[in-house]
């Protein structure tokens, strides 16, 4: 029994949105990181992770997201999250992750803020 993560990307002017569908565990985190680093190689410095399709994450998957945050800080880029379940949002606050990557309630608000 495996629950794989589907990742899709929407490239926009100056910002890319990564959509996830499924469980963010170690493999899921690696899938997200692979797409994120590809986007950085393409020159994107603002990434939005839309987790509307993800209802459960684990700390191993989140630790890979922290690697992406670290990379974004190194290049002076922006990483944001939107459309989190209340529990995932609470977990990110427990970890202090929200201090380094802002959390937005919806995609429109995130795109507006991240482009500002």
């Amino acid at each position: 029994m495996t629950e794989s993560l589907n990742v899709t990307v929407d490239r926009r002017d100056g910002l890319a949105v990564i959509y996830t569908e499924g469980y963010i565990n170690n493999q899921g985190g690696e899938e997200i990181a692979k797409e994120a680093y590809k986007l950085l190689d393409e020159g994107y410095k603002a990434l939005l992770l839309n987790l509307a399709g993800t209802k459960i994450v684990n700390s191993i998957g989140i630790s890979i997201l922290i690697e992406i945050i670290e990379k974004m800080l190194e290049i002076d880029g922006k990483l944001g999250f939107c459309c989190l379940t209340p529990t995932i949002e609470k977990t990110f606050h427990i970890m202090g992750l929200a201090q380094y990557a802002p959390i937005f309630p919806n995609e429109d608000a995130a795109v507006a803020q991240m482009r500002a």
Partner: protein, 143 residues
Amino acid sequence: MAEGVLREVTLALPMAPEMELEASKTATAIAESIRMSPDRIDEVRMAVVEACINALEHSQAPDREVFVTFQVLGDRGPEKLRILVHDNGVGFSPEGREEPTMASKLKAVRKRGWGLKIIQGLMDEVEIRSGAEGTTVVMSKMR
């Protein structure tokens, strides 16, 4: 007080990929049966996933199993869900652990080690019993 055990279910999980999701499904079913709110059920699920991952990954249990016991507690009706995640592994010293922070993890090579902090943040009560006979994480949430 919510101390009588009204119902108890135990799962024995083999150490195989994504077994934590099996425990999370059982947690959901039992929490729904006592009419816990959906947001609180989600928090229980996540805490169970973290406790199971810790046991599955770090216990080094010779029987290669993790035991998850769900207890519905209450006096006249269900009031609390208590979950015990037990392994027969090598144990660890909870007191010796350094609490993870984002500031330290951003600089560190190893960015993992968040499980207990997440469990403590999501559940109402958490107790860790660890020694030569393994580790048991006992965590509870009021309905």
